[in-house]
Amino acid sequence: MIRFVRDMVRVLCSPCRDHVALFSQQIDTPLSRGETFGLRLHILYCGGCRRFIEHLRHMQSLGQVLAQQAENQSGLPADVRSRIHARLAKATKKI
């Protein structure tokens, strides 16, 4: 409970520059409950951070479209595959 309050207060007292770092970090790793709650409270009154989150989500969805486009491309072509196998065989002889 003490840690929760301490983390929340720390987040609420820090500037937006630190919040955006936490919003980004949150994508890669879960934050503490206090930090998460502090950020939620903060975006209730901060339009700049709300817009920043919108943009992060927008970039993520664009990233998914990009991933889908990459996925839709055809796989390793047969001629490239055979050239790679040939080079592997050559490299193995050298080792």
């Binding site: 790793t29 990009l66 790679i84 592997l88």
Partner: protein
Amino acid sequence: MVDTDVPSGTMSEAEPVYGASRAVDSREVAARRWVADHGDILWKFAIARTKSRDIAEEIVQETVLAAMQGYQSFAGGSSERTWLLGIAAHKIADYFRRVRRAQSARLPAISPDATCVCATCRGMFNNKGMWACIAGKWPEVNQSEAEKIEQTKALLACIDALPPGQSEAVWLRDILGIPAGEVCKAMGLTDTNLWSRMHRARMAMRSCLETKFGLRKEKVQ
């Protein structure tokens, strides 16, 4: 080559040669398996990044060869696919570094105020660390197919404008969706390094997209 130091009964004279060739064989077998199992994803990744069949082929070949040579160093902390994608990401980053070095004489100098390369994010915040201006709303992704294509092109251009180390982290983490822990292992980064690299990259991409979408910021009252 006579291994006099080898205690009798543990290894015959002929065995080291057989062992070495077996190690090479097993490496080649593993490399062939990587091409069979992960060749498609490596190819898609390389072609999506470089847009060139020749360069993508070179990158996939170099990736498999490097993996073959560094087979012993694969600790197994990440999946084999992530490990190979990490090697490919390094190769692609090297390629873009070479391209940039060759182009640097022709490229215009980047102004520190250019929003597209806002690495430090100065200008976005005032001296108290609060927003200096609120960015505009971006056009919806799902508006139309043409809009989607235009926006993904803009995102690609912005990722390409990032420093190579950042753009490869963005590809592995945000586009291919590889878990952060695996990306750290594949790229040899600590958690903190990855977070700060991703944060800088996302801030720069956001500024770059703002420029591409042609939006104006409004001053905070």
